[in-house]
Symmetry: C2
Subunit: 341 residues, 2 copies
C-alpha cells in the first residue's frame, strides 16, 4: 500500500510508492568498473601540476610535500571574493553583486581514490580541512552561509574526475535554510527541545532505519526520504554549527562517513552521488534549536515533472528496506585497500 | 560579473554565474533526430491497443472513434483512489495512507507527435481535458491539491515514448505550495495587489525577458531563473485556479504553449523537458493573492551538491539572453506540419 510520509524537518510530504516498489538491489548501477590510473598527466589536481591551478589557499599538512589535501579557488567560480555584496532593488526585482567564495578541496593526491576507498585517517584530514575553511570564512562578516559539498560522477554534477569536494560561501542565508530554521525554532518553542536531538534519539531506539552507529555519530535512512538511499549522519551531541566539531568527533565521523560511502560503493556499485554538510549558519552556532548533519544522496533516479511542479517527491524504495540492505553490505575488503596503509 | 537574484515568488536567491556564462545556443543538444513512427504495435497508448490500458476515465471528444485525447489511470500509480487518506502519528512521525489519483492523459493517437508539433487546435483539446479532469477531481473533498505535468524524454522522467501528460491529486497541499501562498499573501497584505499581476505588468513593460505575448497570455523567462531557459506562461487576467480558464483563454493558451514548445524544440534541438501547471489549490479559486501559471523547464543541466545542500541554484545562462534567443527562433515550418491539417 502506498503511503505519504511527512519530513520532520521540512514539513514536506513524500509519496512512498509501494506499487512501483523496487527492491534495493534493483537500483544497483551494474556499471562495468573501469580501472582508473592513480596519476593522470593532464589532470590539474594531480601532484606535479600544482602550477595549473589558481594559487593555493591551504595545504594540509601545512608546508608538506607531498601534500595530503589541497584547497584552491575554483577556476570557474560561481561567485567572486573580489566583489562586494552590494544590494539593489528595481521594481521589486532584488539583486546582489556576486560576492562570495567558491573553493575546491582536492581530497588526496590519488586520481583514482574515491573518498569511500581512502583510509579513515585520510578522511579525517579532509574533514579537518573542511572545518578549517568553514571557520576561517565564517569570520568574514559579508558571509552569511557556507555549503560544503561533494559531487561524485557526471550525473551528480562533477566535471573533473579527480576526487574533490567544494565549498561555496554566500552573502545570503538560502530561503530553504531559513525555512528549516523556522520549523526547528517552532518545535523548540512548542516542545522545549531540539527536534533533531529528539528525532535522533527515537530513531536510535527504533533501529529500523539505522545503518551504522558509533560512539558519537549515527548514520540512518530518512523516514520521509525524497529519494532512494538518502542517508543522514547526525552527531549525537547537540551542535548547531559544523564549525564546532571536536577533534574526537572528526576522527569518529571520518570512520562513519567513509564506511557509509564504502557501503554505497559496494552495495549499489559505485553510483554517482552527492553529499553535503548541512550546517546552521555560523551566527546560529549557539542555537538550541538547530543541529548540523551530513546528507548523503546517491543519484539513482531522475526528478520529473511532478517533483518540479509540486516540490513533493515520489520514492520507490522503502527507507527501512534501504537501511536493512546497507547494514548487510560488508566493506572490510575495500577498507583494507585504503591508501598509505 | 556574477550576481545573485531573488525569486519574487519563493524569495529564494539564485546565482547567475556569468564567469561560467554560456551563450544560449551552446546548450542545444546537438541530438541526431531519429525518425519516430506514427504507430507502434507494442505501444499501449497507440490506437487499437486501448484494451492494454486500465479502463478509460475520459475520451475526447466524448464517444469518438478515432479519439483525439484519452485519459486513463496510471497503471503504476503512485497513489490509489481505493484508499482513504487516514492519518497516523507515532513519535512525531506523520503518515497518511496513500490515497490519491494518478492519471495519464494521452496527448494524441500519433506516437511520433511531440506537443510542440501538434496543431494549436489539438493542443486546445488537450487543455480542455486538463481542465475537465482538474475540475472533476477538485470536487472530491479528500483531494487537496492537483498537479498537472508533462515529462518529455528520459532525462525528464518519461518512461513511455508516446507523448502523454499526467495528473496527480494529493490529499495534502505540498509544503512548497503553502510557502508560495504565504509569500503571495504577505505581498497582498503589504501592497494590496496580487504579486503575480504586479510582476507580469512590469515584465510586459520591460520587454527584455518576454518571449511572446498574445491577447490573453505572456510567455517569459524568469528573472531569477534557477535553470537555463525556464519559462513561465501567465494568464494576463487575474485567476488563482487553472480550473477557471475560459474557452477563449484555452484557445489562446494553446497557441502560446505550442509556439513556445516549438521554439524550444527547434532552438535547443529537442531537449528533454518538463512542464507543469502551477495552480493554486481549488479551495483558493477566489483568492486575490494567488495566480496560476504554466512553468516550462528544459532539462539542460544537472542538479549538483550545492543545489541539494542549500536549495540555491547556479544558472549559467542570463535569462535576458535566453529570451532574446527564443524570440528569434522561427517555428512557422514545424507549426505548418501539424497533424490533421
Amino acid at each position: 500500500m502506498p503511503e505519504l510520509r511527512q519530513n520532520f524537518f521540512t514539513k514536506e510530504w513524500v509519496i512512498i510508492a509501494t506499487e512501483r516498489a523496487k527492491r534495493p538491489e534493483e537500483l544497483a548501477t551494474h556499471r562495468v568498473v573501469q580501472p582508473i590510473p592513480e596519476f593522470v598527466e593532464s589532470c590539474p589536481f594531480c601532484p606535479g601540476n600544482e602550477s595549473k591551478t589558481p594559487p593555493e589557499v591551504l595545504r594540509y599538512p601545512a608546508n608538506s610535500n607531498p601534500w595530503a589535501v589541497r584547497v584552491i579557488p575554483n577556476k570557474f567560480a560561481a561567485l567572486s571574493s573580489e566583489l562586494q555584496p552590494t544590494r539593489s532593488l528595481q521594481h521589486l526585482r532584488r539583486r546582489i553583486e556576486g560576492f562570495g567564495f567558491h573553493e575546491v578541496i582536492i581530497d588526496s593526491p590519488d586520481h583514482s581514490r574515491y573518498m569511500g576507498l581512502l583510509s579513515d585517517a585520510h578522511v579525517a584530514s579532509i574533514l579537518r580541512v573542511y572545518r578549517e575553511r568553514y571557520n576561517a570564512l565564517s569570520l568574514d562578516h559579508r558571509v552569511n552561509h557556507i555549503t560544503i559539498f561533494k559531487n561524485h560522477g557526471a550525473d551528480a554534477g562533477a566535471s573533473l574526475a579527480h576526487p574533490h569536494s567544494q565549498l561555496i560561501a554566500t552573502p545570503v542565508i538560502p530561503s530553504q535554510v531559513r525555512h528549516r530554521l523556522f520549523e526547528a525554532l517552532r518545535h523548540y518553542d512548542d516542545a522545549g527541545e531540539c527536534m533533531f536531538c529528539h528525532m535522533v534519539e527515537r530513531e536510535v531506539e527504533d533501529q529500523t532505519r539505522v545503518v551504522l552507529k558509533s560512539e558519537r555519530f549515527v548514520a540512518m535512512e530518512v523516514f520521509a526520504s525524497a529519494t532512494p538511499f538518502a542517508t543522514h549522519i547526525f552527531p549525537l551531541r547537540h551542535m548547531a554549527s559544523f564549525g564546532d566539531i571536536s577533534e574526537m568527533e572528526v576522527v569518529d565521523l571520518a570512520r562513519v562517513l567513509r564506511t557509509l560511502l564504502a557501503k554505497i560503493y559496494v552495495g549499489l556499485e559505485n553510483p554517482d552521488l552527492n553529499f553535503t554538510v548541512r550546517s546552521g549558519p555560523a551566527e546560529y552556532a549557539a542555537a538550541r534549536h538547530f543541529h548540523w548533519y551530513v546528507s548523503v544522496i546517491p543519484r539513482l533516479t531522475r526528478v520529473a515533472g511532478f517533483e518540479l511542479g509540486s516540490g513533493m517527491f515520489i520514492n520507490s524504495v522503502l527507507p527501512e528496506a534501504a537501511a536493512e540492505y546497507l547494514r548487510k553490505v560488508a566493506v572490510e575488503k575495500v577498507a583494507g585497500a585504503a591508501m598509505g596503509q
